[in-house]
């Protein structure tokens, strides 16, 4: 899947207080022809974001001065630049808070470099075209037509209940992005149902049984433990 076309210089801002990871990211991303800026505190990150206007921001949770949610919220006051959260294990609550505050995606440390690059590409792509270029999404043997409210798998039309369809449509509209439980519940059942995560378990299971070859090892409708769900359209090596 590697694209060999030379990309124009895309600016990436890394907000990370650990010098080791910061250095590694600078090397790795520069090697991929990105222009990298590294900030070591939240406030420095906010200043650099305003100065360098990056295309993607990588935000580490657990900065010395500000928490991830605050940084995300302050950035979202003026920019829609994709924000990728880098978190350690055990920071689930912070992670979800940052995602709910407007961050686009997350990666858990230690993450693999190919995965990071894939997420950056997906973020850039979605930022460039926030609305689906066509109302029809084709991924693997799955096809969803949002205009006609129809779903096919391997050429056969799949019948979905209205709730199942609304859930799938929300995931399709944000394909490749992680959607938190609260986001999905609010979008499908309304804001009053934001804490009722068991609705999602039941309907996601139903969707998987209808759309996945092996519902226990889903290919498209993946679970992000403790965070939410994601519809995958891009599969990295071995995925």
């Amino acid at each position: 899947m590697k694209t060999n076309t030379v990309q124009p210089q895309v600016a990436i801002l890394v907000i990370e207080d650990d010098p080791g990871i910061g250095h590694m990211l600078r090397l790795a991303l520069s090697a991929e022809h990105y222009c990298v800026n590294v900030a070591t505190t939240g406030s420095q990150g906010l200043t650099l974001a305003a100065q360098s206007l990056p295309a993607v921001i990588l935000l580490d949770l657990g900065l010395p001065d500000l928490d991830g949610m605050t940084v995300t919220r302050k950035l979202r006051e003026w920019t829609t630049t994709p924000i990728l959260i880098l978190s350690a294990r055990g920071q689930d609550a912070d992670k979800v808070a940052a995602l709910d505050a407007g961050a686009d995606d997350y990666l858990t440390k230690p993450f693999s470099l190919p995965e990071l690059l894939a997420r950056i590409r997906a973020a850039l792509r979605h930022h460039a075209a926030p609305i689906l270029s066509s109302p029809r999404l084709q991924v693997g043997d799955l096809c969803v037509d949002l205009a006609g409210r129809m779903v096919w798998r391997g050429g056969t039309e799949i019948h979905l209940t209205p709730t199942e369809y609304e859930l799938l449509a929300e995931l399709v509209r944000h394909a490749d992005r992680v959607l938190t439980h609260r986001h999905l519940l609010a979008a499908v059942w309304g804001p009053a149902a934001m804490e009722q995560s068991h609705y999602l378990r039941v309907y996601m299971a139903a969707l998987r049984h209808k759309l996945e070859a092996d519902p226990s090892r889903p290919r498209y409708l993946t679970t992000e433990s403790g965070v939410g769900y994601r519809l995958r359209t891009e599969f990295s090596r071995g995925g």
Binding site: P110, Y203, A205, P215, S216
Partner: protein
């Protein structure tokens, strides 16, 4: 005949005792800063000026002297004497629109000078100040280690008060306890002859001219001045005597030793009690003996609400003079006195001269007579008491007399008359008297003694008026009826007296019963209390109910100990402050005590062996003094609470020591595991990287292989570190389950996703029924359990061997089994598999900490689930986890009901 060596032995011991006492006194003085008292006979002798002059001399020697407060009384001379000494700004208190200047105690404590000057020791502070009296401020300064110089006139000394009043006819309201004088390290007598004083008064050096004229007529008479001067000189001479005595002790000069004495003084609600207390204190001082003020709660009705307040005031007064105070319950006052005298080993009893008429003693017995008759080896002092008009104990607002019993009494007498009229003519005339007697008994039972006396009189009058011929008049036709009346009246009185006594005894018994029941409840319930909050629940629950007044347990930090009953009480910042004060000082304070007496709570430190563990707060009913009868109950309670809290603290400490030992053991095991199992992959990594560095990119295949191996080692280490962290979280009790409704299918899915690299293309056969119910669990925890079991299965079976995962619902639980095709568990290992750091006989060679399954078990136990190990019949290990199944919640569809 005493042998000479024995004599010298005892002399030596005495000398040693003397040394010890000297050291103790020395120590006590060193920790408690010096108090220097400038004593004068009357205003204007020059105390303040002398104090300021001395202070300036000290300041010149480089000591940090602070003028805390000097009253100049508008005398220019005095204010000039302050000179260059630094002055503390006064604290301004706004009291009902009047601005009062007060000594700023906190300011002085904050500045911490070497010496602070505080004039006019007997001054009463503005209401709302921390301490009611200035001498209490001074004591606080001394306790804080600051030397204090202060001034006082002899008539303001508590024990001199009566003498001064007798001699001069002037009674002063503001007095200083003699204890403060005793505390003084140095007393400086400022003396001036009466002539000099009068001269100074006339020249306006003491008061402004018009005040001075009035003062000369009333107070500054030569006779008064002479008497006061003599008193001041004598008082100082006594002090000198004390100091000589102290020296004699220091120097182990042989002398007579006072026999161990203890003075007991009886107080009542009578206003003369204060004078009795003072007399007792003088007696005790003369004997150098401790003394105790005693109030006997004979019967409930004897202490009405106002009387209780007065008794409380008298006991508090005794405490302020340096005595102890006690309340006893007894049938009679003499019983109470004798019981306590026996308990305290008292040698002398002080009682006031009776103020009631003699016939009352004849009729009801005399207390003094009782005590004297029963005093075996006890000296009884009866002191003269002239009720001082200024000395009414500050009793709360008088309450309206309760008219109810009187009203009831009238109704009963009227009823008796009606009944008698009804049976008049049917039954013999003499039976009518029985009806009235019955009425008198009813009144005695219901209304108490005074109404029953009146009822006797009224009954006789009514009987006379209505039934004795000639009817309708009080006139009596037959003289024999007079005898009938007399008998009727006497019988009525006797019956009511007996009934009343019985009633009082019942009340008394009930009160005793209540006290004993409370103790019993405390003892029984406290034994079961395992935590501080249990004790708090107990105090705010059953104990509060039994005592009938809100009770709370307060931490030494001033916060209420959290318990379910905390919600309904008002606990202000000021109450917190008082509680902290009580905890720090180990003294009671708040309502009804000597310290910080405002607020609605009385605070008693709960201490054991001098260490305050908590504070007991008892709410006082609005506008009321604390009932003195509550003190013994509260005191007994704090004692029991103290023991319980100390026991709880000790138990907690033991438990934490045990936990620490366990943790230490775990840490040791972990360290040895880390040193081996993290270093091995590190060594492999280092080797791979070194090789890579040497190949210079020559061999592409080798590079790829080495890099893949590096990556694998890193993944393995990450998983191990994750397990270590998880285990430590469980061990330290930081594990917080975040339970939600989850589907097992999803959890298996995410676990398999995490193990993707580890599985490396192994076939995994997943069999989950589509209708598997949701499980209420922590998704991350159960995912971790599945990951660890899969990891374990991969480690103990050959690459490429299949895994099987199956789940099913059983009654009340849901089970998930993970099986491999490896060699299976060693039968001998089955019991130990889930122990921390246990690795099977095989496992030692395969790395890992052996934490994986231990974590699984701990996480499942936190979910009230379980983990079982076994081998499959056709070979291979099989791990089954079981989780409790709860009825799943309903899941609505959106919009309409056309969902299918």
């Amino acid at each position: 005949m005493p042998r000479p060596d024995q004599d010298s032995e005892s002399a030596r011991r005495e000398h040693a005792d003397g040394l010890l006492r000297a050291l103790q006194r020395h120590d006590a003085r060193r920790e408690r800063a010096r108090l220097r008292l400038f004593l004068g006979a009357c205003p204007g002798v020059g105390k303040t000026v002398a104090m300021l002059e001395d202070a300036k001399a000290r300041a010149a020697r480089g000591q940090n002297v602070l003028v805390g407060l000097v009253e100049t009384h508008g005398r220019r001379e005095t204010s000039e004497h302050v000179g260059p000494l630094p002055q503390l700004p006064r604290r301004r208190v706004d009291y009902r629109g009047i601005v009062l200047d007060e000594f700023d105690l906190d300011g002085a404590l904050q500045r911490r000078p070497d010496i602070v000057l505080v004039d006019e020791l007997p001054h009463t502070n503005a209401p709302g100040s921390r301490n009611a009296k200035r001498w209490q401020d001074v004591v606080e300064l001394l306790d804080a280690g600051i030397e204090v110089w202060t001034t006082v006139n002899v008539q303001h000394l508590e024990s001199m008060h009566d003498v001064v009043a007798q001699v001069t006819g002037i009674s002063v309201a503001e007095t200083v306890p003699d204890g403060v004088l005793d505390r003084a390290d140095e007393v400086v007598l400022i003396d001036a002859s009466p002539e000099t004083l009068l001269d100074r008064l006339r020249t306006g050096k003491i008061y402004a001219p018009d005040v001075a004229r009035r003062a000369e007529q009333q107070f500054f008479k030569v006779g008064n001045l002479l008497a006061l001067r003599e008193l001041a000189l004598r008082c100082t001479a006594c002090r000198v005597d004390d100091e000589v005595q102290a020296y004699r002790q220091d120097a182990a000069v042989a002398g007579t030793w006072a026999v161990h004495e203890h003075v007991l003084v009886c107080v009542s609600a009578a206003p003369t009690s204060r004078a009795v207390v003072r007399a007792a204190r003088r007696l005790a001082d003369g004997l150098k003996a401790p003394w105790t003020a005693l109030a006997v709660d004979v019967v409930h009705s004897a202490w009405g609400h106002d009387n209780r307040a007065r008794v409380a005031g008298h006991l508090a007064y005794a405490e302020s003079l340096g005595g102890q105070s006690r309340v006893a319950y007894a049938q009679t006052a003499a019983d109470g006195i004798m019981a306590l005298a026996g308990e305290l080993n008292a040698t002398r009893v002080v009682v006031g001269r009776p103020t009631h008429p003699r016939w009352r003693d004849r009729a009801f017995g005399s207390l003094i007579d009782d005590v004297v008759r029963r005093s075996q080896g006890l000296e009884v002092h009866v002191v003269r008491t002239d009720p001082a008009p200024a000395e009414t104990t500050a009793a709360p607002k008088p309450h309206a007399t309760d008219l109810r019993p009187w009203f009831e009494m009238l109704v009963v007498v009227a009823l008796a008359t009606v009944v008698a009229a009804a049976i008049d003519g049917i039954l013999p005339f003499s039976q009518l008297i029985m009806v009235y007697l019955l009425g008198m008994v009813v009144v005695a039972v219901r209304c108490g003694s005074a109404p029953s006396w009146v009822a006797a009189g009224l009954s006789v009058a009514a009987f006379d008026f209505c039934f004795v011929p000639p009817r309708g008049t009080f006139a009596v036709s037959d003289v024999r009826y007079l005898l009938t009346f007399a008998v009727m009246f006497v019988v009525g009185i006797v019956v009511s007296g007996l009934t009343d006594r019985l009633r009082r005894q019942v009340i008394f018994a009930q009160q005793r019963e209540r006290h004993v029941a409370l103790q019993a409840t405390l003892t029984r319930e406290l034994a079961a209390a395992a935590r501080l909050t249990d004790v708090a629940e107990l105090v705010a629950g059953p104990i509060e109910q039994q005592l009938g007044t809100p009770l709370r347990l307060v931490e030494t930090s001033g916060n209420l100990v959290a318990c379910s009953k905390n919600l309904d009480v008002v606990w202000s910042m000021a109450d917190r402050g008082r509680a902290v004060w009580s905890a720090e000082r180990g003294e009671r304070c708040g309502r009804g005590t000597q310290h910080l007496a405002d607020g609605d709570w009385t605070l008693l430190p709960v201490a054991l062996a001098g260490q305050t563990l908590a504070v007991l707060a008892a709410h006082a009913k609005a506008d009321r003094q604390r009932d003195p009868a509550d003190w013994p109950t509260l005191e007994a309670m704090t004692g029991q609470l103290g023991q319980a809290l100390a026991r709880i603290a000790a138990a907690e400490q033991a438990a934490s020591t045990e936990r620490r030992a366990e943790r230490q053991e775990l840490l040791n095991t972990m360290l040895s595991a880390v040193s081996h199992d993290l270093r091995t992959p590190l060594a492999a990594l280092a080797g791979s990287i070194d090789t890579l560095a040497r190949t210079h990119g020559d061999d592409g295949d080798l590079q790829q292989t080495l890099l893949a191996s590096c990556r694998q080692q890193i993944d393995q280490m990450d998983m191990q570190i994750h397990n270590l962290l998880e285990m430590s979280r469980i061990e330290t009790g930081e594990l917080r389950l975040h339970t939600e409704w989850n589907s097992l299918e999803e959890l298996v899915g995410t676990a398999l996703q995490r193990c993707e690299r580890l599985l490396g293309g192994r076939p995994v056969n997943v069999q989950l029924p589509p209708d598997l119910p949701l499980v209420n669990c922590d998704a991350r925890a159960i995912e971790q359990v599945i990951v660890n079991i899969i990891e374990n299965a991969c480690k103990y079976s050959a690459a490429g061997q299949a895994l099987a995962i199956a789940a099913w619902a059983a009654p009340g639980r849901i089970e998930l089994a993970i099986a491999d095709e490896g060699p299976g568990f060693e039968p001998g290992d089955l019991a130990n598999l889930a122990d921390r750091f246990f690795r099977g006989t095989e496992g030692r060679a395969r790395g890992g900490f052996g934490l994986g399954l231990a974590i699984c078990r701990a996480l499942l136990e936190a979910h009230r689930g379980s983990l079982t190990f076994g081998n499959q019949p056709k070979g291979g290990a099989r791990v089954t986890l079981s989780l409790p199944l709860e009825p799943a919640p309903a899941v609505p569809a959106i919009g309409s009901c056309n969902e299918d």
